[in-house]
Amino acid sequence: MKAKITMEVTIMSIKWDEFFITGDPLILGSQIAIVLTMIGAVAGITYLKKWKYLWTEWLTTVDHKKIGMMYIISAVLMFFRGGMDGLLMKAQTAQPEMGFLDSQHYNEIFTTHGVIMILFMAMPFLIGLMNVVIPLQIGARDVAFPQLNALSFWLFFSGAMLFNISFVIGGSPDAGWTSYFPLAGKEFSPGIGNNFYAVALQIAGIGTLMTGINFIVTILKMRTKGMTLMKMPMFTWTTFVTSILIVAAFPIFTVALALMTFDRLYGTHFFTVSGGGMDMLWANLFWLWGHPEVYIVALPAFGIFSEVISTFSRKSLFGYKSMVFSILGIALLSMVVWVHHFYTMGSGPAVNSFFSITTMAIAIPTGVKMFNWLFTMRKGRIKISSAMLWALAFVPCFVIGGVTGVMLAMGAADYQYHNTLFLVAHFHYVLIPGVVFAVFAGLYYWWPKMFGFMLNEKIGKWHFWLFVIGFNVTFMPMFFLGLNGAVRRAYTYSAESGFAPLFMLSAIGSIILAAGFAVFCYNIYWSIRYADRNISSDPWDARTLEWSTASPVQFYNFAKLQEVKSLDPFWHMKKKNEGLTLYDSEIEEIHMPSNSWLPIYMGVIFGIAGFLLVFEWHIAAALAAIGIFAGLIIRSFDYNEGFHVKKDEIHRIENAWRKTEGEVHDHVS
């Protein structure tokens, strides 16, 4: 009987007039902007006759470098979207009782902001850098499964687009990025916004899981001769451990989201209040994935800082072994701390104590890493480039995030901090220095490798100072607001609360922060137009193998696979002048994988099926799912063996860049 009622509600709640969100100027503006942008893009590509180029060089590519760049471009766009959300929230709370956003809008915006920043900005940005760099660092020609890699990207992209479209079609999810039950259930969130959450994250999550598998195998099996595990560059190590964490944690999220979908679409009782369901089960499953997820984005970032600090201090990384062990320690601990997200929800003192201790223990390996970075710089010949600046700013900012983290880790004290802006300030102090600074550092550092020219260092410094100052001015006041009792996820506050000055300060900070981001975009534009194209393939005088080949990297990465004898192999090759020249006799044909239309096809069909499922049009969704199976079957019968690059071609390509070396402009003095 009960089941029947739920079914009826389900069918009734989807009406055509709910399809497009109407009557809101902000959203109407976006709808018009989206349509215009799409028309503009299609017209522009047609006018420039670039469709074929786009299709053969990008959309069907299986080249890890291009896939990486597509990840990074998407991530920058998502950063823009998530950042706009952040600014809107800051504008709304700039003064007490503002009427800019109503509570419903505020709910939707912090939800999409959180999801987009973590899953569609931080993850793809880092995965993009991993894609570009890891095969090069280990001296390989691609990842283990190039086509699967493309599929990962297209599934992520499809999930991201599906999630973003909720803004103009159907309505955004509004139950927070954590989407706790019972709020996120059908009973309290009858619209389809939260269906978008369940389905879009599922699609993107499958892509991420495949990335994890791909990189584990790549790093285990494709390292060049002589590169033992303990000779791997630190970014490779962190990527490896991150991939293990992905494989260990993402299936939990897959299940949690599937159960959420069942609860919302098919009336089951996993997390509902009625029917024996258990809302805390969601919270546990979510954070069983969610906390490792935080380290999935933090560890690669640590890897990037390690590379940057070592290169610009002209020294090997200090305490390499202890770095490796602390990564492993952090990864293990990250699986046993999840309850610290809900100390106040009745777990009891014994459980809380246990999780307090495990949480605080994470500070130990993290502290080891901090000291290792500092000791790497000690007595180094430090060169303050833009990339290095981000790494330098990371250290103190992240320490603030870490120390407040230890404060929050204390179960008893958390009763005071829980659900306040203190927490919001804490995790922004972890995520922004830990991830955003890192991807900026990585981008400035590897940009010349990707594109063959550098980002402008002077504009880069403007970007840096505006962003870092803006960040601190935005989030530092939130610690104090939180301690004074300002709760998170509240769309406004009264004038009597006395919060107004700090909120205003924080809003001003966010404008500076946004200016920093704008300068970053301008830097990309400026550098594409004007930067010096005639630069060395090793502009930073760097240490690892990616710098031993051309910039931009030729599609087969290395003409000859290198042999490695130590850490920082390229540094030693340069010092001993060994293995830098390529002899004609060493050139052999190279086998490479072919492009494929299947990954993008799968992305599109998953997107369509997902969209129909979100709207609970089950028959249409099932029909679309046939397309998914068709794709799998086609893949099973696909015996494309790839192609061989002829010696002549390798000869020509290698000559082109090796000859000019020495005449180019060097950037490190």
Partner: protein, 203 residues
């Protein structure tokens, strides 16, 4: 794919090229993810399995005889899958295909029983929507059943390729991987049999 040029003929067919070795390792890692997935589903079931919400309990719906038949069918199919791979190692294509077909027939028998079981439950008034216990039961069993279904479809594709191409390193690798998958599903079933059915009947 990238290094398929190098073939080491001293190894079993499916391990001869580097790409095939990577595919097999990748599949092991994927099975690791599958273990986490099923472990989570077992965990959910473990939390919800006594929340009947006034609906039917384990004892009201489980039919031990049918479950025993399902178990025998699936365990036997794992055994025949083992023989199939053994025939593959002996380069006996015909034997391989025959044993694969037997395996899939047993798998289909298992599925048939499972669907009947679900219909029986529904007749008893036990559906996914009845209680948390039943939601978690159906999703756990259904996920396993969906895996078996997928495995049958996938193995059918591989059999077609074996018929078309014979035993090559690639087809051997594909067969070997589907073998791993099949044994994995069997292991999951043993856990389901123990922690769902036996425990439910003893409780």
């Amino acid at each position: 794919m990238i290094m398929s040029a190098k073939v080491d003929t001293s190894l079993p067919l499916e391990y001869q090229t580097e790409q095939d070795r990577m595919n097999i390792l990748g599949f092991w890692v994927f099975l690791g993810a599958e273990i986490v997935l099923f472990a989570t589903l077992f965990g959910v079931y473990g939390v919800l399995y006594e929340r009947f919400a006034g609906g039917p309990t384990h004892k009201d719906i489980f039919v031990i005889k049918d479950v025993m038949i399902q178990t025998v069918l699936l365990l036997t199919s794992s055994f025949t899958m083992g023989i199939a791979i053994f025939e593959m190692r002996r380069h006996n294509l015909k034997g391989l295909i025959i044993w694969l077909v037997i395996t899939l027939a047993l798998g289909a028998g298992f599925l048939f029983m499972e669907i009947n079981e679900f219909i029986h439950y529904a007749h008893e008034g036990a559906t996914m929507q009845t209680s948390a216990f039943l939601s978690s039961l159906f999703v756990l069993l259904g996920t396993h059943g969906a895996h078996v279904t997928l495995g049958i479809g996938w193995a059918t594709m591989v059999i077609i390729q074996l018929l078309k191409r014979g035993l090559t390193p690639t087809t051997a690798r594909k067969t070997f991987i589907i073998g791993l998958y099949w044994h994995f599903l069997d292991v999951v079933w043993i856990f389901i049999f123990t922690f769902v059915y036996l425990k439910g009947l003893v409780a």
